[in-house]
Symmetry: C2
Subunit: 136 residues, 2 copies
């Protein structure tokens, strides 16, 4: 009913996003992406083009699909998801949470106005904040 | 300071968990697990023994690891994570959120007193509830 008041209360994506982002470029090999993912630090690799602009995202889901399938793909660009759902640093976290839920995904790259990745917001980060709310 | 009051306020796992659980048994083939995961309905397959008791969990992370690695494994029990973090239906969601965060995982099987899976709680489900709180 009062959007001004609501946005004043909601934390921003910037406050809970992870600023340490592991990424990959679109012309690297799938096995390089797999190695990065299997280090276990992240389950979401933003894919960048030569200019550092976000062009896709790759997860262990895509790796499994590629290897379990016909195995004919070799490069990240062939298996990445190109239509990336993302967030901005100033976005209220409830809007970001809705994007995760509606699209059944578990993380959003956070981009600046030039589509450069400045962070990543995962459902686990949201859960962290959520846990905190009920503890205090 | 007042745990009684806090638990009275916090929603329970039962209220937001997903009751439709896709699972697998430990002696099925890895490719069967991959097929179930790649249908995209879930990223977490609880693994059950012959008596329906929870004995492990498998995600696309484990599938990727198995296929990208030496490829010598064939059965789910060989690649599943055996030490499963889980929740109970009556657990407050903030406790469950902490388990996700501290263990860097994105879902918890929800079990009854006999270790039978009655639901699954994902970080996305938590985000859903979280989004709702700032909207109202
Ligand atoms: C450590 S996470 C790393 C990737 C990513 N952070 C994620 O949440 O999927 C991946 C591993 O966690 C395991 N895992 C997922 N949910 C689990 C749970 N509830 N209890 C124990 N292990 C779990 C999977 O079997 C997989 O080996």
């Amino acid at each position: 009913a009062n959007p001004m008041r609501e946005t004043a209360r909601a934390p921003r994506v910037r406050e809970i996003m992870n600023k340490k982002v592991v990424s990959i470029t679109e012309d690297e090999e799938i096995r390089t992406a797999a190695k990065k993912l299997l280090k276990g630090e992240t389950n979401h690799l933003p894919v960048l083009d030569k200019n550092g602009v976000l062009v896709g995202i790759v997860t262990t889901y895509d790796i499994s699909k590629a290897v379990v399938g016909d195995g004919k793909h070799r490069l990240v660009r062939e298996i990445m998801t190109k239509r990336v759902f993302k967030a901005t640093p100033e976005e209220p976290v409830d809007i970001a949470a809705q994007k995760l839920e509606r699209n059944n995904i578990s993380a959003l790259p956070v981009v600046d106005t030039e589509n450069r990745v400045v962070g990543i917001l995962s459902a686990i980060d949201l859960g962290k904040l959520f846990g905190g709310r009920w503890q205090r």
